[in-house]
């Protein structure tokens, strides 16, 4: 897929919670096609302490208005600087980068996400829905404050929630959710994105049920385009780049 570099205009900065915000960005030309799981490398121009671009998933797209949106969690100087962008500001993106998820080979699919790991899942849910699937979407967090915009997913599948403290949905980790007792066997594929321990736990459960599992990794990156070899992950075929060969990997190919 051809990659682009464009100056987007911030059309809206939506402060969702204290920690999360979404940027709506308008493309100066017509928005190229983007696939679920793909990301952009974002240039943070307004932070004195941020040098490299920041990889951020494509959260949503609107080809009618040539807009895309990013869902971002404030974790450090770069994301905090991005949270201060205002309508009319310019944001430079290198995009769309990386691979995408594969389509289910059977009937049902389960999407599991934790924290900002929901970002790449919205486009995936949309695509699955448009292809006639009705995926289950399981969102986990420490508390209810970590469950961001679950309503966005409802049009595309059934949404389930877990929190560590039980403040929303079922109490416990995602892999302790009741979906994992019986229904789990009905999925032909599981997709996951979230903190490393969560993805590993999901991968283990999937493997134990012999269900294909694809996870989206968030390795630290320098270039995002396969030029630096910094973002590698160990696979059964040697080191692969997360930015070009990933971020989506079949867990069976990974040395987890």
């Amino acid at each position: 897929m051809k990659k682009f570099i464009h100056d987007f205009e911030v059309t809206r900065n939506i402060h969702i919670t204290d920690d999360y915000f979404a940027l709506n960005l308008k493309c100066p030309v017509s928005l190229p096609d983007m696939l679920p799981g793909q990301f952009a490398e974002v240039l943070v121009g307004n932070s004195a302490t941020t040098y490299l671009r920041r990889p951020i998933s494509i959260y949503d797209t609107n080809y009618d208005t040539n807009e895309l949106s990013l869902l971002i969690k404030k974790v450090g100087d770069g994301t905090i600087a991005l949270s201060k962008l205002k309508e009319g500001d310019i944001l430079n993106l290198v995009y769309p980068l990386g691979n995408t998820f594969s389509m289910p080979q059977g009937e049902n699919a389960l999407l599991i996400c934790g924290g900002v790991g929901i970002a790449p899942m919205l486009l995936l849910a949309k695509l699955l829905h448009s292809k006639g699937y009705n995926p289950d979407i399981l969102i986990g967090g420490r508390t209810s404050a970590d469950i961001i915009e679950p309503g966005k997913y409802e049009p595309y599948g059934e949404v389930f929630i877990t929190t560590d403290d039980g403040s929303a949905g079922e109490k416990g980790m995602v892999t302790q959710h009741s979906l994992f007792t019986e229904k789990i066997k009905s999925y032909s594929i599981i997709y996951a994105c979230g903190p490393d321990p969560m993805m590993k736990a999901v991968a283990r459960v999937a493997a134990s049920h012999q269900i294909p599992c694809e996870i989206s990794l968030e390795n630290t990156m320098a270039c995002g385009i396969g030029a630096c070899l910094c973002c590698v992950v160990e696979t059964i075929d040697g080191n692969k780049t997360t930015c070009v060969d990933g971020p989506v990997f079949d867990t069976r190919t990974l040395k987890l």
Partner: protein
């Protein structure tokens, strides 16, 4: 008409702007962002005698105005390069210079010898300054006898343009430059990365799997510029300057300090079009200053 061409030994570069090894893949990674043929040359990712997996992840850490990397020469070896990669890049109409690395003198020789016949590989850059491998690497570049020895050995098997890439992690870089000049280097590139370290204070662990790594980016520009200036006064062969170059002004500074050509490394990550912007910026600078031949700027620092 503005003449941007420069000569690095036998290589006539159409302009002094090249991409630095390990930061530009093999070229095609940047095809979507620029016409790679406009560059004076491409320095490929390091090529070693055998396949190397490189170091374990994490391999990079951001630092103030720079980054540390400890990729560690990941590549599939010289035979794979010749069989698989070379055919994919030999269409480029610019100099392709292969960055050659290894852990032993014999390894360097093997790679150089195998690359010698490749028509479109017009030169090699001996990387005797990689801080990210356990054996060889930087050790070759931090003592005059060793730097001289590897240069001499490769010179014996390679008869096209041989550039030697120097390590900045030394007390006296001019001395090392002279040692490799004496043993037949056609040019030196100055500098590779500075040895650095990053720590995750919360986890109380090194960020990199290798503990230390190579520092690059704008942070090191003042050191690189100083070394280019020192080396270009000490040797007669052309000096290729690099280290933190991010815009045309930076590039001009390196030329003034004595570099015949420049390489752009880490800046490619921040702006994948930066090489072309630097090229355009150099043209603009020349026309603003009434310069008709870029060679007028080389070493033209008044002091």
């Amino acid at each position: 008409m503005l003449d941007l061409s420069v000569n690095v030994h036998k290589l006539l570069l159409k302009n002094p702007v090249m991409s630095a090894s390990g930061t530009f893949g093999y070229g095609p990674e940047f095809d979507d962002f620029m016409d790679v043929n406009r560059l004076g040359g491409i320095l490929t990712k390091a090529c070693t005698s055998k396949n190397r997996d490189g170091n374990r992840y994490p391999r990079m850490a951001e630092t103030p105005s720079g980054m540390l990397n400890s990729v560690g020469l990941q590549n599939k070896g010289v035979d794979y390069f010749i069989d698989v990669i070379y055919p994919k890049i030999s269409h480029y109409n610019t100099h392709i210079i292969v960055n050659v690395s290894d852990s032993t003198v014999e390894g360097y020789m093997e790679v150089a010898e195998k690359l010698n016949p490749l028509e479109k590989i017009t030169g090699i850059e001996l990387n005797i300054s990689c801080p990210n491998v356990k054996e060889g690497g930087m050790a070759f570049g931090t003592s005059c006898p060793m730097a001289g020895a590897v240069t001499k050995a490769v010179r014996g098997v390679y008869n096209k343009t041989m550039i030697v890439k120097l390590s900045p992690n030394v007390t006296n870089i001019a001395e090392i430059a002279k040692a490799v000049e004496d043993e037949g280097a056609d040019s030196v590139s100055v500098i590779n990365t500075l040895l650095g370290m990053a720590i995750d204070a919360e986890k109380r662990r090194p960020v990199l799997s290798t503990i230390t790594g190579g520092l690059s980016g704008p942070a090191i520009k003042p050191v690189a510029l100083r070394m280019v200036w020192q080396v270009s006064k000490a040797v007669k062969i052309p000096v290729i300057g690099l280290g933190g170059i991010s815009n045309a002004t930076d590039a001009i500074e390196f030329l003034l300090a004595g570099a015949t050509a420049i390489q752009v490394g880490t800046a490619n990550f921040v702006d994948p079009q930066v090489c072309i912007k630097i090229l355009d910026g150099i043209e603009e600078y020349c026309s603003r200053h009434g310069i008709t031949d870029i060679k007028e700027l080389i070493g033209a620092l008044e002091s």
